[in-house]
């Protein structure tokens, strides 16, 4: 399952990369648009007025096509790499490393002429960026492993010192009279200036990065989740760590020209953080992060192409931020809504179990006091309400739910009874509760007055295996009803006292064992 998903990204990106190699993709898109547009235009003649939009949708502009393709691929690659840095709790590593590439760009521009190269050619600048980025990686490793400082300080130091060095070099470049006009795009990014060659570079390097990650999926997973275990299994943890950072540097570098240094950080962090809300599986998360990053690139640059005065880099980040907030609220694995719902359903289950057990114990004490063992002595609502500190609304809605499930019945005069199913369920709950109480008293030496409260908290999560173990441990003699007798007195005042805080518990401490 996991591998199939990963193979999918692996296959997708080289495919796009090979398409981007030449004009194949663009001609393919052209074919596509010529096939589809006439039918659409005949269907809606009014689309003529909105020619800008249709030009964009069918990627008729060569430039728009290149930009959208490049930024989407960039988003995908950044999402894949970002997944691992996020899980390694180093989301901001991209921040430090992208700043660390700056001095390299400046130095490459400055030194290239003396080596007989063109200082403004992209490969030269990117090589410089890569070299100084790797210096940044080395510096982070040095600070982290050789000093007492922690990760965040290592990132902060590398970021600010390299950034300072970068600014110093840029300033030299400007004052030496060199034409450094293009260098500023490395800080803010200008996707509109992307050429087909740049898009191809992004595609090839993005595919390479994805390939490395898929090939080393198991090793990187171990690195992220259990570094110590990976080391004990003989994996070269330090090398893997450096490799992961190198991948971040490479991804950052290809993104520098498209979205710029600061917004590149966003692409490394946000898609991965958004994907985390949707799944707990790493392979799925990687795929979702790639999709999310790709979608941000696509929508962001499309919006920027559609409307005037919207810078593409910033739009890409804003789109991914919107995706992040949507994921944070609606994510199916860790989203805020899902967690709230889960908490609610757990609370309801707990309420239900408290209600059934309370009813059962009231009925039990009624039949004991009335000397009748048929358990027909019904319970009044007010008795039940006094039992616990539940609000009337919560109790009523829970009662209604139990009646609907046919666990609780009402007598003609409005008093409450357990149905047969309700009785079976309640018996199980009371059994668990009292088992745990007895266990606490005999094996954990907890005072009788306190056990009710503790058992109250744990009774909802006792597994059948544990119950069987407890039964064997306590060697219970089977009573008539099949459940042990309560080790403490059960009365509305006594029990409610027990969960109204320590004062209540200590006053209940005078109760005697039956």
């Amino acid at each position: 399952m996991k591998w199939r998903a990963l193979l999918l990204i692996l296959l997708c990106e080289p495919l796009i990369a090979s398409c981007a190699q030449g004009a194949e993709l663009f001609s393919a898109v052209d074919v596509l648009s010529t096939v589809t547009t006439p039918s659409l235009e005949s269907a809606s003649s009014s689309s003529q007025s909105d020619s800008h939009l249709s030009r964009l949708i069918f990627l008729r502009d060569y430039n728009t096509r290149v930009v959208i393709l490049g930024t989407s691929l960039l988003g995908m690659a950044a999402g894949v790499v970002g997944t691992f840095t996020l899980l390694r709790r180093r989301a901001l590593m991209g921040d430090a490393l992208s700043h660390a590439t700056l001095p390299g760009v400046g130095l490459a521009f400055l030194l290239a002429p003396s080596l007989g190269l063109d200082g403004k050619s992209l490969p030269v600048l990117l090589t410089g960026a890569a070299l100084s980025g790797l210096c940044g990686v080395a510096a982070i490793m040095f600070v982290r492993n050789m000093t007492r400082l922690r990760e965040d300080a290592a990132l902060g130091i590398v970021l600010s010192v390299f950034f300072g060095a970068g600014i110093a070099v840029f300033s030299v470049v400007q004052k030496s009279g060199g034409n450094a006009a293009g260098l500023e795009t490395f800080i803010y990014g200008k996707a509109a200036l992307l050429s087909a060659g740049d898009a191809r570079l992004i595609a090839i390097i993005g595919a390479g990065v994805t390939f490395v990650i898929v090939a080393l999926f198991r090793e990187l997973t171990l690195l992220c989740f259990d570094e110590g275990f990976a080391a004990s299994r003989g994996y070269p943890v330090l090398l893997l760590d450096i490799l992961l950072m190198a991948l971040v540097v490479i991804t950052t570098i290809i993104g520098l020209k498209a979205v710029g240094l600061i917004l590149m950080i966003a692409l490394l962090v946000i898609p991965a953080a958004a994907a985390r809300f949707w799944t707990d599986g790493l392979a799925k998360m990687t795929v979702i992060a790639a999709v999310c990053g790709g979608a941000s690139g696509l929508l962001g640059s499309a919006l920027s192409a559609l409307f005037k005065d919207l810078p593409s880099g910033a739009m890409i980040v804003l789109v991914s931020a919107a995706l992040f907030f949507v994921s944070m609220i609606f994510g199916t694995a860790r989203g805020v809504l899902v967690r709230a719902l889960r908490r609610r359903s757990l609370n309801q289950a707990i309420d239900r179990e408290h209600l059934l057990r309370g009813l059962f114990e009231l009925l039990e004490s009624h039949s004991a006091s009335h000397g009748r063992s048929d358990g027909t002595a019904a319970v009044s609502y007010s008795e039940l309400e006094d039992l616990r500190t539940w609000t009337p609304r919560r109790l009523r809605s829970q009662l209604a739910r139990c009646k609907a499930q046919n666990l609780v019945q009402t007598t003609t005069d409005g008093r409450l009874l357990l149905s047969n199913e309700g009785r079976t369920e309640a018996r199980r709950l009371v059994h668990n509760h009292r088992l745990w109480e007895l266990y606490l008293m005999t094996h954990a030496e907890v005072a009788a007055a306190r056990v009710d409260r503790e058992a109250d908290a744990i009774e909802h999560v006792l597994e059948p295996e544990l119950i069987a173990k407890l039964e064997a441990l306590l060697e219970l003699e089977h009573t008539e009803s099949g459940i042990p007798e309560s080790p403490h007195r059960i009365s509305p005042s006594g029990t409610s006292g027990a969960w109204q805080g320590s004062a209540g518990a200590s006053s209940a401490g005078t109760e005697t064992l039956p």
């Binding site: 600010s160 010192v161 600014i167 030299v172 919207l310 931020a321």
Partner: protein, 439 residues
């Protein structure tokens, strides 16, 4: 004295003072950021304030500095609050939530500024690089003196931060190291946290406006980290961080003029060089800190390795003499038996010769009477440990290696205890006699 004043009111002097004030103002709260593992907050705020500036501009339709300042500080605070909110509400890793917040705010700010660019010159470049070089040009009149605005502003922020740290020293200390304890002691750790955030935001914004963001982001993190490597006390750490901050400001100013000249270029960005110099000072501290510096650690390890080798040499000579009394052992044999390199062994033997433990006789080495005694102690430790480990139920196959390590750390007192614990044996588990304690 008057020459000094004249120099300080010169163009370069004013720039240095600005740099020093910015460095001091940032390093003070920076100590607590580093201790609370929030080193990247300064950087995050420096990017995130952009929309605050833009909104202030939209609201007031002017580039007046007070609304801009307030807007930026508010958004800076918002960064800290939003980061925490996403961390808690969405249960996201702290770093990731900071990354989401500041990049989003920055992007938002960029969009706003581009929208405003039609009306006014408010380009991101001037926000990100307020330049320290031009600070002496913009002056205000205070009590009859022309004082650069940057110095006035950064000076008041530095004084504010100093007062903050002095007044709340104990509270900051406790809440940095143990927030739980701070709360039980009756201080609100949360309140201190937000006060610190306010201070950080004010410092950051005041500095961007005047000296540029590079300087302040670096000074938040680098001098406190450097000081952290040099001491383990908070008060000393703060003082040291201030000294380092001042030193990097001065050094940075000098090198901005001098260093590019070595390569045939003009001058360079002063703020950038100040950050770089702070980085160099950090590197020096990481390497040479007497506390735990890399060089110091390597030196200690080498010293220990040499001591152990020298002790191994005399213990070996003792054992060989035990088997064949009066024999002198050539250096090559010592090397092969100890599996050690010739140079290191030669060095160790020479040291022992100097100390009078070993003497050179007919082409080999032999223990002197003093050396005999020292070696006997080591061999005694070794064999006592072996005996003890066997009586403790450890397999005889592994005891030799254990004892080999332990013998170098065993003193007279410990030997005596081993002797009584293992009921005064005469032979070790391998059958060799355990030497008597002498003197």
């Amino acid at each position: 004295m008057s020459g000094l004043i004249a120099w300080f009111s010169s163009y370069d002097g004013l720039i240095i003072i600005t740099g020093i004030l910015c460095a001091v103002a940032a390093a003070l709260p920076g100590n607590f950021l580093v201790l609370r593992r929030m080193s990247l907050l300064g950087d995050a705020i420096s990017h995130a304030v952009l929309p605050g500036l833009a909104i202030a501009f939209f609201l007031t339709e002017s580039r007046a500095s007070v609304p801009m300042f307030v807007g930026a500080v508010l958004v800076g605070l918002l960064t800290a609050v939003l980061t925490e909110w996403i961390r808690d509400f969405g249960s996201v890793d702290e770093g990731a939530s900071m990354g989401v917040v500041f990049t989003t705010l920055f992007a938002l700010g960029l969009v706003m500024i581009v929208q405003a660019a039609d009306h006014v010159d408010l380009d991101p470049g001037c926000v990100l690089y307020g330049s320290i070089e031009s600070t002496p040009l913009e002056t205000v009149l205070v009590a009859g003196h022309e004082i650069p605005r940057a110095i006035l502003m950064l000076g008041s922020v530095a004084i504010l931060n100093l007062l903050f740290v002095i007044v709340f020293f104990k509270e900051l200390l406790i809440s940095a190291f143990d927030p739980g304890m701070a709360t039980t002691a009756g201080y609100s750790a949360r309140l201190m946290h937000y006060l610190l955030m306010v201070i950080v935001a004010i410092t950051a914004v005041a500095s961007f406006e005047t000296a540029g963001n590079i300087l302040v982001v670096a000074m938040f993190v680098v001098p406190p980290s450097t000081a952290y490597l040099l001491t383990t006390r908070l008060s000393r750490m703060i003082v040291l961080s201030l000294i380092i901050a001042v030193a990097s400001a001065i050094l940075g100013h000098w090198s901005a003029k001098a260093v590019p000249g070595w390569f045939g270029f003009g001058s360079t960005s002063i703020a950038g060089m100040m950050a770089l110099c702070a980085g160099l000072l950090f590197l020096l501290a990481a390497l040479f800190s007497p506390l735990n510096g890399v060089v110091v650690r390597v030196y200690r390890r080498m010293k220990l390795a040499r001591r152990i080798l020298a002790e191994d040499v005399i213990a070996l000579l003792y054992r060989l003499e035990e088997r064949q009394p009066g024999r002198s052992v050539p250096l090559s044999e010592i090397c092969t038996r100890l599996l050690s390199s010739r140079v290191a062994t030669q060095w160790a033997v020479t040291r022992k010769v100097h100390k009078g433990f070993v003497e050179l006789t007919d082409g080999g080495y032999r223990l002197t009477a003093v050396g005999q005694r020292a070696a006997a102690e080591l061999v005694r430790s070794h064999r006592l440990w072996e005996h003890y480990l066997v009586t403790e139920g450890i397999s005889p196959d592994v005891i030799h290696r254990q004892a080999e390590k332990l013998e170098h750390y065993t003193d007279r007192e410990l030997r005596d205890r081993l002797q009584t614990e293992s009921s005064a044996p005469a032979l070790d588990p391998h059958g060799s006699p355990i030497p008597e304690e002498r003197g």
